[in-house]
């Protein structure tokens, strides 16, 4: 094809106004042997385009091998196992209802008092440890008034 024609097409090409068939002409021209030295610089562009149009994936793409559905079935299996496990463990031990109840209210009162006393005694013992906090307070007051 004439050189001036190619140049015109190139100009149109960069304006985005060429048709597919005109672009095909350009591609044929530039991938051929006989490219004018002035236009040599555009050669890699069109060569690249035709090279890229043949690229294909190397890995075979399959439909059966579905990673997601694999996870899916594992998930279902796990949840069934969990449900079954819960069902069996929950029904196993019967709670003991004998809590050692007192029949006589007097004794019950005494026992309750004893327990409450014990609790308050432990509480007081625990509070003794807090005396040190007072020391901190004193020291702090020495510096910050």
């Amino acid at each position: 094809m004439e050189l001036s024609n190619i140049e015109k097409l190139l100009e149109k090409y960069f304006e985005g106004e060429t048709t597919i068939s005109e672009e095909e002409k350009l591609k044929v021209y530039f991938t051929g042997e006989d490219v004018s030295p002035d236009l040599e610089k555009y050669k890699p562009l069109f060569e690249y385009f035709s090279q890229e149009s043949t690229v294909a994936p190397t890995r075979n793409i399959t439909l059966k091998k579905n990673r997601k559905s694999w996870y899916y079935s594992i998930g279902i299996a796990a949840s069934i196992a969990l449900a079954v496990g819960l069902f069996f463990t929950k029904t196993a031990p019967e709670p003991n209802h004998d809590l050692g109840t007192y029949d006589d209210p007097e004794i019950a009162l005494e026992e309750t008092k004893k327990i409450l006393n014990m609790v308050s005694q432990y509480m007081n013992e625990g509070k003794e440890g807090l005396v040190y906090l007072k020391e901190f307070e004193n020291t702090k007051n020495k510096f910050i008034k």
Binding site: G16, E17, Y42, E52, V55, I61
Partner: protein, 169 residues
Amino acid sequence: MKEGAFITLTNTFKDKLFRLAKRLLVSNEEAEDATQEILLKLWRNKSKMGEYKNVEAFAMTMTKNYCYDKLKAKETGNLKIVHSNYQDDKPSLQRQLEAKDSLDWVGKIMNSLPEQQRAIIQLRDIEQYTNPEIADMLGLNETTVRVALSRGRKKIREELLKKHNYGVV
């Protein structure tokens, strides 16, 4: 639809999906994953296949959306290092080395274009779809496609000439 028929149908455009994905995601592995994912999605929705006007165009749109999502996820997931106070006037060593192989160089230029221009040039100059088809696939109007195409091509030309004249001018 039987699996055999589905495979025959998708085989006609499977590579195109892959190439578009590769153009947008750059990495080979990611593009293969994308293609697989798109084909599986199509396979799962095979009952709706009859409703699509053009399965190929539909698959292309799916690929585009998938890749854009991937790119967005990457952008938010990755820490970007931006040199704002650093500029090198000379072409870097890496650039000089890359320039050796002019075809690779075109690829590099192309992959440095904005996603939209990249996708449009891929579809037009490599896959040879018409502008109306591309507009339909990418959800753009035809004028946008033409303008983006022209911009992308001019940008490639500019970079290509820069490289070509390097050391001459």
